[in-house]
Amino acid sequence: MVDKAKGAGLITSEVIAQSGCTTYEPQNEDFTLEPFVGQTRYQELINQAELVITHGGLSSIADSINAHKRTLVVPRRQHFDEHQNDHQLEIMEKYAHEGYIVACGETDDFAEALATAHSYTPRPYQSTSSSVLKLVRAVIDDAPLPAGTLTGSGAQTPVPPSKGTAD
């Protein structure tokens, strides 16, 4: 798809793709395949990219939005035997809705999604992992939970789960 888009002039910049185990050969110029990239090269490529196109694994999306890059997500689908389940759609839908990425679903037109992805302004992602760290620390230490911790009942000061058989 990306190769066709390149051929159709929809992508004017150089394309570099991590090809993994596929035997695909790009038809267009300025389209390089690197079977597997190491961490350093990967980070380098992300930093240089104007647009990152990915399948939708959380790690790939994460790397791109953490680098504040334009991201186009084209997810794998279970019924194409491409992946074990469709949970990648959940992440894609959430992050598209929140403005971090552009999604190209099964029924979406790739060319249109590509055009949108080239021009949208990604919402800057603010990491909350330090908040999670504080929570995990409190939980390990059996200390009071950090303010703002939510639980299912909506309470901000949750009741610890009971270990009784009445549960």
């Binding site: 694994g57 959380l58 790690s59 999306i61 994460a62 790397d63 939005i65 953490n66 074990q84 389940n85 949970h87 990648q88 959940e90 992440i91 839908e93 959430k94 992602y125 990491s127 909350t128 992992s129 908040s131 999670v132 760290l133 504080k134 929570l135 995990v136 620390r137 939980v139 390990i140 230490d141 059996d142 939970l145 950090p146 703002g148 911790t149 939510l150 639980t151 299912g152 009942s153 949750p158 610890p160 789960p161 270990k163």
Partner: protein, 157 residues
């Protein structure tokens, strides 16, 4: 220092576990994961404080069953050797046996449901939720699936 065991499968689950690495020095930490391509780098970094279990995936049911059994036995031996007070896990199936064994033998179980699922619970998550002392989710939406879970944000992105 409290003895804490951090366990996860490889891949995304392991990336999430590594987001907890600022905590490692605060405890007597052991890390358990599956054999990964960069295992030697991990051994260099963590020395004797890291252990590797066999990987398993539900795509091949029969070999998975054998690996699950092997992992259960390894987990049991590991638990008896290390006797952690707290087990912190980011999933998935490989971590399940050790969480259950730990729970039965008196360890505090802290399970962190993966950030990869927004509405759908993971299989391991559903199982461990029944007995975890603390269950943490990384999307507020998941509080509807796991009502007594805690939410404070996401380790990834």
């Amino acid at each position: 220092m409290k003895k804490v065991l951090f366990i996860s499968s490889k891949g995304g689950h392991f990336s999430e576990l590594m987001r907890l690495s600022p905590l490692f020095d605060e405890y007597q930490t052991t890390i358990v994961t599956e054999e990964v391509p960069f295992a030697s780098e991990l051994r260099e970094r963590f020395g004797e404080h890291i252990y590797f279990l066999r990987e398993g995936t539900r795509v091949k049911p029969l070999s998975y069953a054998f690996k699950l059994l092997a992992n259960t036995l390894s987990s049991f031996r590991l638990f008896l050797r290390l006797k952690p007070e707290v087990i912190v896990s980011t999933g998935a199936h490989t971590a399940g046996p050790l969480c259950l064994i730990g729970h039965l033998l008196g360890a505090r179980i802290v399970f962190i449901e993966t950030a990869a699922n927004v509405h759908t619970p993971s299989a391991t998550g559903k199982a461990v939720y029944r007995f975890a002392d603390v269950f943490i989710v990384q999307h507020e939406e998941m509080l509807e699936v796991f009502p007594r879970a805690l939410y404070r944000g996401a380790l990834i992105p």
